[in-house]
Symmetry: C6
């Protein structure tokens, strides 16, 4: 289903991208059950939490979990094929327009041709559509999702003069980092009151160590040391930081250690320098590193 | 009349989208009669009220109610068909331009081709045109509707060099949330003095319980508890909120409870976390939840 | 001359839109004579006044009055026809560009094709061109009208590399609401000193009652009551309003009363709620309503 | 040379627009000789002065004066014809781009076709190019004229990859109203130090009376009264005005008086209401009017 | 090589524009040697100095000086021809985009066709490319020149997917007026530290007199008087000016005097009025003029 | 593989640009090993440091070092050829859009044709993609790289409706100058926590002298003197500078000295004038220069 380039890159049509293998995901509470209940009821879901808290991986995991293989005729190849639950992810940004989501006209040899955007594709095939960091998008895109999130489940496509009723499997999921919240970039009430909300916080230390050990291939002890470091640097205000360290950076440190980089140097380039440019704050983090990896 | 995709999505031409089944709507006062009188007189209508107060559903209900089936020849299929009152809804946003409403030229094999926008379609077929959150739109769109709202009932289409007199059945309805009112986004007097205004407030507790019971499938007692919660969290200032809880979120909570999620957890993800990111405000709402669902 | 759609909408070419029937207009002073004298001298006219003061209707009335039927060959049908004075109205807004007024190139089967804008059409056929709320337009549009308003009466069309001398019957009329005056949106002296100015104020109570009775079909007594209401709510500052009530809203109230809506309810939805969202100001207006329609 | 429309509008190619008849212009000092000397030396000229001071008419007069008829083959008709000095006027505004002045590609049946803008046409045929209110234009346009105003007399056309050396007869003239001077809209030194500057002030009273009498057709006495009014209202600060009355408005008043409008009413609509929207300032001007036309 | 229009304008292809005759340039110090050394080493050059200090003429002079005639086959005519060093000048402004410098696709009968911009042409033929007032340009253009100014001498053309290594003769020269320096329009260190810098100040009085005499054709005495005037008005702060008088304006005054305009009047229109609109500052300059030309 | 122009410019396809010869790079610490370890693990790398600290040269050196020649079939010529590690560099700026990185549709004889942007090319062929000064780019571009920097290694191409999994050799490297850090232009935590970070500071004096001697061809003594100058002017705050002198400027000074320009003059045009426009700061630097090169 996917083309490949000579150099080994694989190219998928957006609506044929599915999560084929179970992503490594360690549940923290009842978030898996909540998501499944919301999905059954087709209630849209908002995931709240800081950078690197695992929101994206959670959605990939849920798409894998909800997806029982099914048969569908490919629009591209005309062949039948087994599919899992398709997941269409859009990373939002301040230049993302409604056209980027819904579709646009392209000029072709036969005049203009309409090309569905990722949201329209998700609506038509009944995929999970995940709008990551939705507050970053322009306002026209957030308004666009309103009729998809109430009892109508409609997507108006003004440029086609059409209204699409979502296929049954469709679910809208958005994410949002309350830490970036500002007057300009807050999620409006007319939008947020259309979703149930699941909050993602920092993982407990033991659980984080388990994740680091699994992902970086380091020993349980090193993983625990890195999790300790994470916990200590997690209170950003104490260190003059605007945001704490994510599990991802701790995994990077673990992977460098695993390949022979000395632990303190690995923490410096993965954690300290990646967190801040401020020399004093860097020193304060280095002290924590030294106290753990003497 | 509507196409369907293999996955079950239905695609309608905008002007053929009608409300086929009576939407569930519980009148609060004489708003149904007022709307009907305004429609008879072709006086444009402004609906004012907060998020989730039911303005959209009211318009859908009125379109259903005003619509006695009639016969029209489809522009697309050339076939006669029975129609109800068409309703054309446009969710306004700050990038919505006059062209999005009126129409634009598209390049085709035979050069450029004009495509009517949703407002022009509504004017030509005599539909109800509902501009949701009209203050969000760019100024050129609000000016555009002025000649449609006085005795002339004209839509000038400058790019075609045409002036269209509205078909008899046409009515313009706009909505507006006074809570978002600001210097930049206020409805100008030259616009608002062209409409009669119907205000939507919070529903009385008993009525809200009835709605929750109907929509979420919970018992009358649970519905009443949720309505109580709504009433208590409805004074936003008291809880440090910028806006109170909408009926929609209470229905979400009811639907989760109906599917087995514990009531307090259901209220947390549907109400508390969806209303605010502030930990203190969340605690204050949790206390209200606990006092009701101990 | 005008096409009609099956649903009853009529479509006119812009330059063939004329006022066929005498609009109902009640002169307040010598404004009709002033306009006629200015027209004879081809002196451009600026109409100043608040929302709903009747500026648009006055221009329609003058176009009807100045227009003695004449014979012209239609550019579209090639047939001779009798015409009245053509009136081309453009509602200005902040996205109105010079191209919207003057014209633009469109892509066609034979390459690009120039399409005259409404101002160019007015200049070429000798129509009255009415630019409503001209300060809202972008600066390039106001500069554009300068050479049309001095002794040269020229319209430069830069994209065509042409200069058009206006046909004899052409007159430019603009309108302007001093109440919206701000540093950003004031009419520049280099523009305003090119027009004579006619100011429109509030109509005297008796005259307003006459208009309401005529337009809403209510009795003289009800009309007088509504005119009294208008007079009392006309001092906006006293009621904390930024603008007083227009005659149009009083007519709406009259039409609802005429159809059986109780007078106080009719005034609430037509006047009180349309004027303001502020609960206190609403109460203060309600008191006035109650004192009149007890 | 000029096409005409059935309704009597005349259409000229920009480079064939010349001033055929001597415009009425009353010299105030040596400005005519200064301009002629500058023209002989090809030194660019900046005209400074308030609205309506006669800058545009002065340029039209100089174009007429410098123009001894000459023979040129029309690019459009291929015929020889006698020409006067061509004058190409561009009213600058904040959306005027370099492309508007220099030219642009248009799509044609044979692909794209380049169309020279007014400045390029002036440079190629050796016309006077008059950029009115040049500070209003976007910065790219002012930079564009720099190489035309030093010893190189070059116009780079980047989109064509060309550099044009100006024809001998070319002269650049710009105008500028110092009264509008602001941080954002000031003429940069790198631009203004490329021109000699001629300042236009208010005309002496006798001279203004002569102009009014000539242009409005009123008696010498009425003209003198209007000139007196002009002089008294000319000190804007005294009347709380940002700018004094221009001769143009006094001529309008004269023309209305000439057609039978009472003098005080004519002054009210031509002068008082055109100058200001402020009721107090209006009263103060009315007093001056009354003291003259009792 | 250059086409000419009937009216006498000459049109050159950008890359065939060379300085054929020695421009009049009077060296002040070792700037000529410094530029030549930088050119040999291919070190980019930044010219700093106020308006009219002669930066443009210096670059034209250096292009003439470095240019020993050489033979090249014209891309346009296919013929061999002798060439001097080509000089490609771009006057930067705030709407200058990377596409304006590098090139763009144009639509043609055979689809789109790429057209090299002036910078690409300079890079390919090994010309001097002079970006005048580079801080005025948009940021993307300044970033664009970075890889051309280090040891790589590369021009990436992203729209073509190409990287061009500069031909040997290519040199980048930019100019910059520190007097306009502001937070928004400063030259970033990452840009300025890629150039050696040559500062241009005010010329010594004797030298300026020599320039004025040569350029305006006036006597040595008059030239000396004008140079004195220049010196006295050169301290802008003393006269309340933001910038002093350039040599160019003094030459204008000289040329008017040469043609019979009285010296004080010539200084008024060339110097006083061109420098400022402020009546008091004008008076203070007039006094200096009077003290010299009594 | 590369085309050449008659004048000696070489033109490469972006994905065929490789570093053929070992760039001169003097390692300061373990940065080479760190980069190699990160590359093995495919951990994205962020290079932090001031202007001219050698970040670009380091990446070129690493591309050369990682690149063992390999055989690939050219997409352009269809021929096999030996290749080193391809390096695709993009200088970011505030107008750089997602389309500039990912690709765009171009109009062709056969309608529109998609052209991959540099990032897509890098992803498909497995190149190092170096985004220089990434904070300068528009926000949509930084969001775009997120899915490429976590375990998914995906590039969504919304306009094609495709998702590309990166080829194995792909690595993303970005650079960033903390000295320019501001509220508006800071690297967001959601972006920076996706990279390990290597900081580049000022080189030690001996090492800098070695670089200057190698690059400028001057004697070891002169190089040492210039390195001393660099060290003394490196504390920007002491000299009222916003940024210290880069090694590049010291090399320029050395190259001018090498060609016979007196040392103090060479330092003036290469260092003093290039660093600042402020006369006082210039004097203070001149004193340092004089104290070294008396």
């Amino acid at each position: 289903m996917a083309d490949s380039t000579p150099a080994g890159a694989f190219i998928h049509a957006v609506e044929e991208y599915t999560v084929q293998q179970e992503p490594y995901y360690l549940p923290i509470g009842d978030e898996v059950q909540l998501f499944e209940t919301a999905y059954e009821q087709r209630i849209p879901v908002l995931l709240k939490g800081p950078t690197g808290a695992g929101k994206t991986r959670f959605v990939e995991y849920m798409a894998w979990r909800l997806g029982h293989p099914f048969t569908r005729i490919s629009a591209r190849t005309g062949e039948e094929a087994e599919h899992r639950k398709p997941l269409i992810t859009v990373a939002c940004h301040e230049d993302l327009t409604a056209s980027d989501l819904v579709g646009r006209y392209l000029l072709d040899t036969d005049g203009t041709r309409w090309v569905d955007g990722p949201l329209t594709r998700a609506v038509k095939i009944g995929a999970i559509c995940y709008l990551d960091e939705v507050v970053e998008a322009r306002k026209d895109t957030t308004v666009l999702i309103h009729p998809l999130t109430d009892y109508r489940r409609l997507l108006p496509i003004e440029k086609l003069g059409q209204v699409v009723e979502a296929a049954d499997g469709f679910l809208l999921v958005i994410s949002y980092n309350p830490g970036y919240q500002s007057a300009l970039k807050d999620l409006k009430h007319s939008t947020r009151q259309r979703f149930i909300s699941i909050e993602f916080g920092d993982p407990p230390k033991d659980q984080e160590a388990e994740i680091i050990a699994h992902e970086a291939g380091v020993t349980r002890d090193t993983a625990m040391d890195l999790a300790k470091l994470g916990e200590k640097v997690r209170n950003p205000r104490e260190h003059g930081l605007s945001e704490g360290v994510s599990t991802r950076l701790l995994i990077y440190a673990g992977r460098l250690i695993h390949r022979g980089v000395p632990a303190r140097r690995a923490c410096q380039v993965s954690v300290t320098w990646s967190l801040t440019d401020d020399a004093e704050v860097q020193r304060s983090i280095e002290e924590v590193v030294t106290s753990i990896f003497e």
